[in-house]
């Protein structure tokens, strides 16, 4: 019940996507990753909401927008337990949990300033060696980029 009331702290949307269970500190990162700061449709967001599961959480509602799976992959890197709820006519049409991918290509910058990907025009490639406490191993320089160091291209 209380979950329902909290949801209503952010207005419902008619059509679009709700991204729920974002760690509070990652809400602004998700906004940047999905480039919602330059988005023309209505975007609602909240942070530090109470969450039974996680203590606090953030939430974003994007009107009239459904995301591609590769866009959602990017979110998993900072919000590994985010749920993606697609809304049609105020109804939930689908609900899924984002999954941390096994490989990350072209999204993240390698943390190593001396990596070839920061010197040449090369698409970055990482293997996710640790999903929970995120660790990305660079295909080129073999160094690890952690969640706390992550920067998006």
């Amino acid at each position: 019940m209380s979950e329902k009331i909290k949801e209503l702290k952010v207005s419902a949307i008619e059509n679009g996507t709700v991204i729920d269970h974002i760690p509070s500190h990652a809400v602004f990162q998700v906004i940047r990753i999905l480039k919602l700061d330059s988005f023309d449709n209505m975007v609602l967001f909240a942070t530090n909401l109470e969450s039974k599961k996680y203590g606090t959480k953030g939430l974003i509602k994007v009107s009239n927008k459904y995301f591609l799976p590769e866009e959602l992959n990017k979110i998993a890197l900072v919000a590994p337990h985010a749920s993606i709820i697609e809304i049609k006519d105020f109804q939930v049409s689908s609900k899924k949990i984002v999954e941390t991918p096994d490989h990350v290509n072209g999204i993240v910058r390698c943390f190593n300033p001396n990596c070839v990907t920061n010197h040449e025009q090369v698409t970055t490639r990482f293997t996710v060696v640790e999903k929970e406490d995120l660790r990305l191993k660079c295909h080129f320089c073999e160094k690890i980029t952690r969640r706390s160091n992550i920067e998006f291209k």
Binding site: V116, F140, K143
Partner: protein, 302 residues
């Protein structure tokens, strides 16, 4: 192994590594040949490295091949702002094999993926230096008669020393017991220890080198570099605590050998050099045979 670039030691399986070592033994018996007479090897050293470059070039020359290239980037098109991609694609037109040393990490992997000719990584920054690893393995095999079940002690800068990282990873295939001696601030990184743990091998960490020497088969010494320390006094203190002297190796096993990737500074006193257990200069010579073997396998000549 024909046309198979070597960027990281793990690009080659244990069997392929052993194949290189086996063939290196043949070249050691017969180092002057003409099998490379129709081949051009490009030797691209974007930063100077006397030993590695001369060892490669000597290996090619002794097999009758030709070498083109440069020993530093300052008077090349790189200075004019040419990308590594363009440099590699151009020079691949002029050569059958490219040997590259480049301070940018991952540059060898990148080059191997765009180059039509195979690449041998002769060192990419702090990342990988696989031919050093092969010559280290060859030196261990030659002095110990086996690579299996040895006690290998690593001493010095285990944090930044890429030769240490690659050799530790390679030795994980041979049931090695590792003795890791370093100052606390220069311990072996967890990313390398992970390989030891995956194979359930034993490793022990020390800060004092003297206690590991009596039980070791191989003592692999490395240089501690001044630039790793923000406090110069701390550097002086540590530098002096990892000095190997002749009297320290008197009560070692008969098969005990001291290895060092060189260049050495003060970590091995020159009074060790005359000991039959000092092996670092022979180790450097082994690099020529190993590189002859590697290049002829990659060029499909064996």
């Amino acid at each position: 192994m024909k046309n198979k670039s070597l960027v990281s030691i793990n690009d080659y399986t244990k069997e392929e590594q052993l194949r290189v070592l086996e063939l290196a033994r043949e070249f050691e018996k017969n180092p002057v040949q003409t099998i490379l007479q129709d081949y051009v090897v490009a030797s691209l050293f974007f930063e100077p490295s006397t030993r590695t470059r001369l060892s490669f070039e000597s290996a090619v020359n002794r097999l009758g091949g030709k070498v083109i290239g440069f020993s530093e980037a300052s008077n090349t098109s790189v200075k004019k702002g040419e990308s590594l991609r363009d440099t590699i694609l151009t020079i691949a037109n002029y050569s059958d094999l490219i040997v590259m040393r480049n301070p940018v990490e991952g540059s060898a992997r990148f080059a191997s993926e765009i180059s039509p000719v195979p690449i041998i990584n002769a060192g990419d920054g702090a990342n990988q230096h696989p031919t050093q690893t092969l010559l280290d393995l060859y030196s261990i095999l030659k002095t110990q008669g086996t690579l299996d079940n040895l006690h290998v002690a690593f001493v010095g800068d285990l944090k930044y020393g890429r030769t240490v990282h690659s050799l530790v990873i390679a030795l994980c295939n041979f049931n090695t017991t590792f003795h890791l001696v370093s100052p606390l601030e220069l311990k072996l990184p967890s990313s390398v220890k992970m390989h030891i743990k995956e194979k359930n091998l034993n490793y022990h960490q020390y800060t004092d080198m003297e206690e590991v020497i009596p039980n070791a088969d191989v003592l692999y010494m490395t240089r501690i570099q001044r630039e790793r320390f923000s406090d110069p006094l701390e550097y002086e203190r540590i530098k002096n605590s990892y000095n190997l002297h002749h009297d320290m190796i008197l009560n070692t096993k008969d098969n005990f050998r001291v290895l060092h990737p060189l260049p050495r500074v003060t970590e091995i006193d020159i009074n060790v050099d005359s000991s039959p257990k000092a092996y670092y200069f022979e180790q450097a010579l082994n690099g020529v045979y190993v590189r002859q073997a590697l290049m002829s396998l990659i060029l499909g000549l064996h």
